[in-house]
Structures are given as structure tokens and as C-alpha cells.
């Protein structure tokens, strides 16, 4: 056990990255102290919060997680509330309303659990297509960490290589795939008629069996915003394990400054408690895993005489290259029922469309059938029509069954102009809010106009759509990447190939911020793999010292 102000490893953030690092450190015999800005809350409370939301508010996955005054996060249910914390500007400001919650357990509380890997090509965009950057290691370097991450969090997926994405693996998934409901099967059949393969997603959801002390998925169709039974991995499930191994977790501890000392090593992290009292914690190694927005924000907040642009920022790349997968959504009405709401809220995607020689001109895209139950949508719409009796029931059933949603997520390139800086506006504690400029760029816009929107229309027609409405404004996918970008060259990147800050030998910044490029799939498994790679490096470094 540690005392409250010192440990071998200080981990800031209790999301998937922080928790994976913490467990590895504890397993290596090191002491760990974790700081979490937000509260630590029982699962049942989140579930009850969700059930007691008015119907339309239930569609906002952050709504069951009201922020604490000292740990604000974006509240999406209105433009006014959304504008309170994240300060957004630029042509696609709306598309960077990133919906992470600042709670112990982090954004995996409300993730869908999807675990795509990058492909070898996704990591070599410069070499293969002349755009963006190459990762400075290849897929074969990352592959063992992907596998370890899949076993650490419990990922299910198909054993047939023809259904795997990508089918380059050193071990099978720890569990087999989950079944499709009717809607996903119909979408799969429709895609197949167009020569496209809708493959079962690798997902951190227990399939058929219990895994790591968590039960099998029972199809509660509520992965977003919370799995009521913890069949889906979320980092909240890791917190008791960390404590059982001797780790210490301080909730409601808002890190606001990283202190540097001799040789520019990190000496301490300072945090505020809810009484606005400041505390200082010291350690041998410091890991900032606060997510792709909060980590660069904390680095910029920590500027000092030795590091006038912020900690870890001699390259001026901290907060730049902010990425996501810009999303468009097609709303369909179909003549025949499609049906959603059977099984998890997401379970598959067309992934082959993320790859191709076109990537020199425009980005790839994935296509996903959204499997969230449409009954709330159908009922609210039918009731508003003023129908009664049998006509009302029939219309609810029709609108619920014969409507569907297809999501497109686009590949975005790292662009240094997409930049997080500190806003002059302050939060409840007096800490600067993050300000982000965001333009999805022509690479994404061309993908939409030339490639993804025409293709989603074909998919919709093949699914039997009689009406197709494709959104015209990009929105967020909540996959925050790039703000502490990785590379071998310290002049153009923030962290080295182990997510160690180039400027500070004992500071590690694993997670989405380190990702050099993001591909089309969500970033979580890559973040987890980078966490494990960093954990190996930290353990070796402390052992050496």
C-alpha cells in the first residue's frame, strides 16, 4: 500500500488506459497511486439515472453522468449546455463535441465496446499513399500488444479469418462472436448483395461465457450509455481489482499542474480536492492518461520557466493533430421491417471500405448498422401524431421496426492546425477550459461526397429504404486522438515509441493522444495496446533505476 502522497507510479486518470497501466505496474511489484478528477459511483446508480431520464434525454449517452462542478464535461442535450465546457471553433466545431465523462472508469462506462485494430496499411499512410505520417513502428510491433489487450479486457470475435478485421493475428479471440439480431443480419445480407462484407465486430463483451469475473452478455441492448450487468468491459470493473492488488485510487482529485525538477524530470503532480484545497503527490514515474483532451490540457496548464510552451511541448505539438472519425448518419424508412434492439447496440461493420488506393485522395470509411432499440423513437413519433387505440400501437410498431440508422465514420488525417489550446474561460476550480479548433479537411469532405455518401445510399436502397435522409453536418465519434502525437523524431512529436515524453524521462502519455493516425475504427483497442507497451517500458525503466 502507498500513503496518499507518494508511490512508485502516479497514474492520472482511471479510464481504460490508466487502469491497464496500473494493473501492470502492480503485477510488477510497484506501488501505484491513481488520481481521478471525477466521482466514483456504483453501477446501479448510473442504470437508475438512465431509466429515470425523460425519453429524448435517454438518447444522450452522457445524460446519466451529471458532471461534478470540479470535473466538468460536455453535456450534449442542448446547444447551450454543450457549449459550457468544451470551447469549440473552426469550420467543423460541432464535430468535436466529444462526449467523454469525467467519472472513475472514464469513457468506457458508455462506450459501445467495439475493438477494431488498425491495419498495417493504416499505419503507413505516408509511404503507401503520400499523405499524413507513418507510424514509426509497424503492425507486427503492435500486434502482440493488441493480443494482450484483447485478453486483458476480454474481447470476443470470430474465429474464421474471413470474418476477422484484420485477419492478421497471433492468437484467437478469447471468446467467440455474439449472434446477430434481425437488423444486423438483414444489413449483412444487403451488403453482401453489393459485394461488401459486414463482419462481426471484435467487441469487449463477454460472449456465452463469464470472463474475468464479469458475466456473459444477455442482450440488454444498453451498452451505451451503461451495461447494467458489466458484461461489457468498462474500466470501472478494474477499479476493485486494482485496489485488491494494493493500488490506491483517489477520486475527486483534479490534477491541474505537473511539476518538473532537475534534468527536467517530473517531480510531482498537484491536484485540487472538492474544497479547492491543493495537494501534491510524488513518484518515480508519472503517467497521464486523462484522455485525448484532458491530457494535452494538463500539459499546457503546466508550463514553467524551463518548459515555456507547456510540459512535454518542446516540439510545439502538444494539443495539435486533434483527430476523431467524423461521422455522418443516414436515417432510413423501409417498406419491410428491419428491426433493431436485439443484442448489443453495435455488433458489426463494413470495414473493407476503410482501405483502398483512393487514400491518396480521400479517406476511407466504415459503415455500421446501429442496433439500438428504436422503440422509444417510434413511440415518441407516433404519439405526436395524435393517434389512438389500435392505430397508435400499429404506428409505434411500424416506426420502430421499419426505420433504421446507418452510421458512416470517416478516416481523418492528423493536421497540426486542428489544435487544442487553453481558453481564457475558467471552470469552477479556476482551471482554463480547453479550446479546440477543428476542420475535418478536404480529405474527409471528399470521402463523403465522392465515396461514403453515395455508397451509404446504395446500402440503404439494398436494405429496402423508401426514404433516406443523410445528415449534412459531420458530428463527433468520441474517439479522441493525436494531441500528444507519437514519433521517433522529438522535433515533430511529443512522445517516443513507448509513449514516453521526449522531454521528460519519467513522464508517459499513453492512449489516444499518442496515435499517429487513427484509421476508421474506434481507437480504444489501439489505446489499450499502447498502454500495455508503455507499461512494459515503465516497469523496465524503474527496474533499471
Amino acid at each position: 500500500m502507498t500513503n496518499q502522497d507518494n508511490a512508485d507510479v502516479i497514474v492520472v486518470g482511471t479510464g481504460i488506459v490508466g487502469c491497464l497501466v496500473a494493473e501492470q505496474m502492480l503485477d510488477a511489484g510497484l506501488s501505484v497511486l491513481m488520481l481521478e478528477a471525477g466521482p466514483r459511483v456504483d453501477r446501479w446508480r448510473i442504470v437508475e439515472n438512465f431509466r429515470n431520464l425523460p425519453p429524448t434525454l435517454r438518447l444522450h449517452f452522457d445524460a446519466p453522468y451529471p458532471p461534478k462542478p470540479w470535473a466538468p464535461h460536455m453535456e450534449s442535450y442542448s446547444d447551450a449546455t454543450a457549449a459550457e465546457y468544451l470551447q469549440l471553433e473552426g469550420p467543423n466545431a460541432r464535430a468535436y463535441r466529444q462526449g467523454y465523462v469525467r467519472y472513475a472508469g472514464g469513457a468506457t462506462w458508455h462506450w459501445a465496446g467495439i475493438c477494431w485494430r488498425l491495419t498495417p496499411q493504416d499505419m503507413r499512410l505516408k509511404s503507401l499513399f503520400g499523405v499524413a505520417r507513418d507510424w514509426d513502428f509497424d503492425y507486427s510491433t503492435l500486434e502482440p500488444y493488441y493480443t494482450r489487450a484483447e485478453y486483458a479486457i476480454g474481447v470476443c470475435g470470430p474465429s474464421d479469418p474471413a470474418l476477422q478485421w484484420p485477419p492478421i493475428r497471433s492468437k484467437p479471440y478469447p471468446m467467440g462472436p455474439l449472434p446477430f439480431g434481425p437488423g444486423e443480419q438483414r444489413f449483412t445480407d444487403a451488403a453482401a448483395r453489393l459485394g461488401l462484407k459486414n463482419v462481426p465486430a471484435a467487441q469487449a463483451r463477454n460472449s456465452r461465457i463469464a470472463y474475468d469475473g464479469r458475466p456473459p452478455c444477455c442482450g440488454n441492448n444498453n451498452c451505451i450509455p451503461v451495461c447494467p450487468i458489466a458484461a461489457k468491459y468498462d474500466a470501472a470493473t478494474a477499479l476493485p481489482k486494482i485496489e485488491a492488488k494494493g493500488g490506491q485510487i483517489l477520486a475527486n482529485a483534479v490534477a491541474y499542474r505537473v511539476e518538473t525538477g532537475q534534468k527536467n524530470a517530473i517531480e510531482a503532480v498537484h491536484y485540487f480536492d472538492p474544497d479547492k484545497l491543493s495537494h501534491r503527490v510524488t513518484g518515480k514515474v508519472f503517467v497521464l492518461a486523462c484522455n485525448g483532451i484532458e491530457t494535452p490540457k494538463l500539459l499546457l496548464l503546466s508550463k514553467n520557466d524551463r518548459n515555456p510552451n507547456g510540459v512535454a511541448n518542446s516540439s510545439d505539438q502538444v494539443g495539435r493533430n486533434m483527430m476523431d472519425q467524423p461521422k455522418l448518419v443516414a436515417e432510413l424508412t423501409t417498406a419491410e421491417p428491419v428491426w433493431t434492439g436485439v443484442g448489443p447496440v453495435q455488433g458489426s461493420s463494413v470495414m473493407q471500405t476503410s482501405q483502398g488506393d483512393f487514400r491518396g485522395r480521400h479517406g476511407g470509411a466504415l459503415f455500421r448498422f446501429n442496433n439500438m432499440a428504436r422503440s422509444t423513437f417510434g413511440a415518441v413519433a407516433a404519439v405526436r401524431k395524435g393517434l389512438v387505440g389500435k392505430a397508435l400501437d400499429a404506428e409505434i410498431r411500424r416506426l420502430s421496426a421499419c426505420t433504421a440508422e446507418l452510421t458512416i465514420e470517416h478516416e481523418l488525417l492528423p493536421d497540426p492546425n486542428n489544435r487544442l489550446t487553453l481558453s481564457n474561460k475558467k471552470d469552477w476550480l479556476g482551471i482554463n477550459k480547453p479550446n479546440i479548433y477543428y476542420d475535418v479537411g478536404d480529405y474527409v469532405r471528399r470521402s463523403a461526397t465522392e465515396y461514403s455518401v453515395p455508397l451509404v445510399r446504395k446500402l440503404a436502397v439494398e436494405l429496402g429504404a423508401t426514404d433516406i435522409q443523410v445528415s449534412t453536418e459531420f458530428t463527433n465519434s468520441d474517439h479522441i486522438m493525436g494531441g500528444t502525437i507519437m514519433g521517433a523524431n522529438s522535433a515533430s512529436s511529443v512522445v517516443d515509441l513507448d509513449c514516453r515524453a521526449h522531454d521528460h524521462p519519467n513522464l508517459f502519455l499513453p492512449g489516444g493522444g499518442a496515435m499517429t493516425t487513427g484509421g476508421c475504427g474506434n481507437s480504444t483497442l489501439t489505446m489499450a495496446a499502447l498502454a500495455l507497451k508503455a507499461a512494459d517500458a515503465i516497469a523496465a525503466q524503474i527496474k533499471r533505476s
Partner: protein
């Protein structure tokens, strides 16, 4: 509430998102029990009016209705609109005059206006579980809200499992097979 829960924040900032206001009574921390325990206001509802509300609800909605949900709805609707009681009586009178047993028997005889609006509001509340679908609205029913029932043979009520591990398939019944509820 006997159930202990964890929220490490100081009590002034505990997680209870909203205070549940029903019939003038505050139910603090009532999230876990809202669907099961009638509020004091609902319990204080005159028995005659409670019966009238359930009667008019049954005339407007041809399904099994939970009385506890009904009492809470009645109390809240009565407080919201001073004319609510009169509208309920009016609707029952029209239904009796038409010797109605289901809504289709008499609804076309309800003139456009406040009484018809009340009828639609009662139906809407039973189906979607709120009187108004707005961010700060009180929720009167979740799993008992009728909106899930027309698709209950296929769709999950979100957060409630309908089967066991991997116990679902891609099969679905015809659209015309309306579940009985």
C-alpha cells in the same frame, strides 16, 4: 431507501440528478423506487377521482394499466391543470353516451379543444412515461411505459435482458403480429 450506494463526492454534490416532485411532495433520491412506491400525493388522491382516472384511462387505452403508475400520473396531471378533473368527467360522459368500451367507439365524438388535448395527454403519458418530454421532466414509468409493448416480441426494453447468454437470433415475427398487452 435501504440500498446503500457509492458516490465518493461530498454530500452537497451527491449524484442525485433531480429532485422528484410529485403532488407537491419531494421524493429525494427516489430514482430506484419511483416506479414502485406511490407518492404521498398519489396516495392522498381522493378514491373517487383515482377510480375515475383509471376508468378514463381504460377507455382511452385498450391495455392492462398499472394502478400505481396511474395514481402518480393522475396526481401530477391534476396539479398541472385545474380543469383536469372536469375534462376526465367530460370524457367519461361522452364514452357512456356512446356506450363505448374502447377508444375507437367514442374518440371521434370528442371535439377538438382542451378536452381532446387532455385525452391525448393521458394517452401520451401512459405510453412514454412522462407528461412532457423535456430535460427536467419527471418520469412516471420506465419499464411499465406502454411504448415498449407494441414491439416487445422483438425489441429489448433497454437495460432489461430478454434472454440469456447469446440467447437471441436474427429471426423476427411478422409486422402484423401485434403482441397482446
Amino acid at each position: 431507501m435501504s440500498h446503500s450506494y457509492r458516490d465518493d463526492a461530498p454530500a452537497d454534490f451527491s449524484l442525485f440528478r433531480r429532485k422528484i416532485l410529485v403532488g407537491g411532495g419531494l421524493l429525494l433520491g427516489g430514482f430506484a423506487t419511483i416506479s414502485n412506491v406511490p407518492s404521498a400525493a398519489a396516495e392522498a388522491l381522493p378514491a373517487d377521482f383515482a377510480n375515475q382516472f383509471m376508468e378514463v384511462s381504460s377507455l382511452l387505452i385498450p391495455h392492462k394499466l398499472d394502478r400505481d403508475v396511474g395514481l402518480r400520473l393522475a396526481a401530477a396531471l391534476k396539479m398541472k391543470d385545474p380543469a383536469f378533473t372536469a375534462h376526465v368527467t367530460n370524457l367519461i360522459d361522452i364514452a357512456e353516451w356512446k356506450q363505448a368500451t374502447i377508444v375507437e367507439d367514442f374518440f371521434s365524438d370528442v371535439a377538438d379543444g382542451p378536452v381532446k388535448d387532455t385525452a391525448l395527454l393521458i394517452i401520451s403519458a401512459w405510453y412514454i412515461g412522462v407528461i412532457v418530454d423535456a430535460p427536467d421532466a419527471d418520469v412516471f414509468a420506465y419499464e411499465l411505459a406502454l411504448m415498449y409493448q407494441p414491439t416487445i416480441d422483438v425489441m429489448t426494453i433497454p437495460s432489461y435482458a430478454v434472454s440469456g447468454p447469446n440467447g437471441w437470433t436474427s429471426q423476427a415475427p411478422p409486422l402484423g403480429d401485434m403482441p397482446k398487452f
